[in-house]
Symmetry: C2
Subunit: 332 residues, 2 copies
């Protein structure tokens, strides 16, 4: 079965290597330690790509879905999109003098992102709408592009787009080299992710599923625009994830990767299909190279999911034990 | 520039030929007469695929969107999905004795589809919900698969999936051979199309955009299902088409193909991007081999769109003059 995986790899790896930062000829999944999680992944891929095997899955059905925050890139001390919201509020503040005294904006402008977020769901929605709506789709894309090109992590000082997990980049590239189509299915904003997922993960915009606000087509002096409305369209989290998958992909994945209880229904949905399935949780166990958190964390809580993973025998990545390297910028 | 198109074709045509019903080595676009529309298509593709040309478009951005009803398959005497609705109402009638006297169901059960549809939007929505909601996504897919395998056209007696336009099948395959990703963007039901678009058009479910109802994730005795709710989620028609494209594709197409005023905003949205664009209307001018209708038709009306196509110099296919063959089953 090994032979098949290797031959399938030969050409496509050339195409995807650039994205994963894998040098040509290098071992795939080089940043994964042998055993445990890596073995589960390699065994699954060998099974579904081996012609003649009862578990063989045609290329068209090799759909793999990935959560983003905490699965492909870090999510501590806050979801990175919250930094975007804070920066946008600061940038837009001159046009909104009322924000100086109005919560949650006042806290945000004082630099207290946690207090602003703690003001509850209504406050979060108010901040999202103030920063994500009111412009056109083209304008919003430009804003995100400019912001993400320079946004840095408060602890590491690295670009946020460097705070991605090297083993997961290798996994994305390797799955694609084996005929998989890789999708992001994230609670994050779909239009916040699309401007950079192709460059960073090799995942094109049409393979990104996320939360969204409504948009409206309009002709402005004869020029068509899509106006971003301050109204939630879809929340792609928890039970929303299988709905988002059905909406965008239209068929059930055979592999799903997450890190929190918000991914549980996505993994359940994936697991319930016929034939071989790979359901995997990334568990944040490495306080030194990354962060260590699970059942008690307000961000990326992994509690019910961990119980279900254990009960069903899903694969759980122990970041500390399973990953040789966490971030691409670490020395090997 | 011609050389480039031909060399690009060499390998992928082998893969897509089966779908288009084009024999290996055969001329691409064989069912298109020389000149007019064919020239506009070939010139456009040569332009965007020629390396070093100022009009060159990278493969990732070669997005082409196609309306379905009246553009890829016929839509007379009624949208084919209406036949599905009628057949489903008949199949479900034993469970709904009240339908015998309740409009629009009573008309439908008497075989008068036109009268049922004429009862207005509310009646249409009632019929859609009665036939498209109330089951799970898996169940609905099975129903569509079974139905489409046997459903025949009332005039020609052909399978509905044979009522597709041979020149458009060739165009889809040829665009893909030139690095395009082809999407359907239709007012029809997304889940009505997805079970058969891959087989018939070579377009996988994740590249189908259409109108939808809401779904809800549920665990039924521990088994996850997506329940189809009797509530409209999205209408992918007219100004909804650019919204649907942004939602599913996340970038602006460079080529758009339609046949009615319901496609106008999709063509406007496509045309308004920078660089070379191909906007094309299929005009139904052939009463003998197909149907002839445009400005006055209640189905597939092409009125404002025709004016705008003329004013902007978009390509208009004259079915009678431009197509050697309309349907695959015609003798050449």
């Amino acid at each position: 079965m090994k032979r098949n995986v290797v031959t399938t790899l030969a050409f496509p790896v050339l195409v995807t290597a650039a994205v994963a930062g894998v040098a040509w000829g290098e071992e795939p999944l080089a940043s994964w330690n042998e055993g445990g999680a890596k073995k589960a992944i390699v065994d699954f891929v060998a099974k579904v790509t081996t012609h003649g095997s009862p578990d063989f899955v045609p290329v068209a059905e090799r759909i793999a879905v990935f959560d983003n925050d905490g699965t492909l890139w870090a999510e501590q001390p806050l979801y990175f999109q919250a930094f975007f919201v804070a920066d946008r509020v600061r940038a837009l503040a001159p046009e909104h003098p009322e924000w100086a005294t109005e919560e949650p904006f006042a806290s945000l402008l004082k630099g207290d992102v946690k207090a602003a977020l703690a003001a509850g769901e209504r406050a979060v929605v108010a901040m999202m709408m103030a920063t994500h709506a009111g412009n056109t789709s083209d304008e919003f894309e430009r804003v995100v592009r400019q912001w993400i090109a320079a946004a840095r992590h408060p602890k590491t000082g690295r670009l946020l787009t460097e705070m991605v997990y090297q083993p997961m980049l290798e996994l994305l590239a390797w799955l694609r080299a084996n005929g998989f189509k890789t999708f992001i299915v994230s609670g994050g904003g779909i239009d916040f992710m699309r401007p950079w997922t192709e460059r960073v993960y090799g995942i094109p915009p049409e393979q990104v599923v996320g939360s969204s606000i409504k948009t409206k087509f309009e002709l402005r002096d004869g020029v068509p625009v899509l106006l971003r409305l301050p109204e939630i369209d879809f929340v792609d989290d928890g039970p929303g994830k299988p709905v988002g998958i059905q909406r965008h992909v239209g068929r059930r994945p055979i592999a799903a990767f997450g890190n929190s209880d918000g991914d549980l229904q996505m993994l359940q949905w994936t697991a319930a299909g016929p034939g071989p399935r790979l359901c995997l949780y990334v568990r944040h166990t490495d306080a030194e190279r990354e962060w260590a958190y699970d059942r008690a964390s307000s961000i990326g809580r992994l509690d019910k999911g961990l119980d279900e993973a254990t009960a069903r025998g899903w694969t759980v990545v122990d970041m500390k034990a399973d990953w040789k390297r966490v971030f691409p910028f670490e020395k090997e």
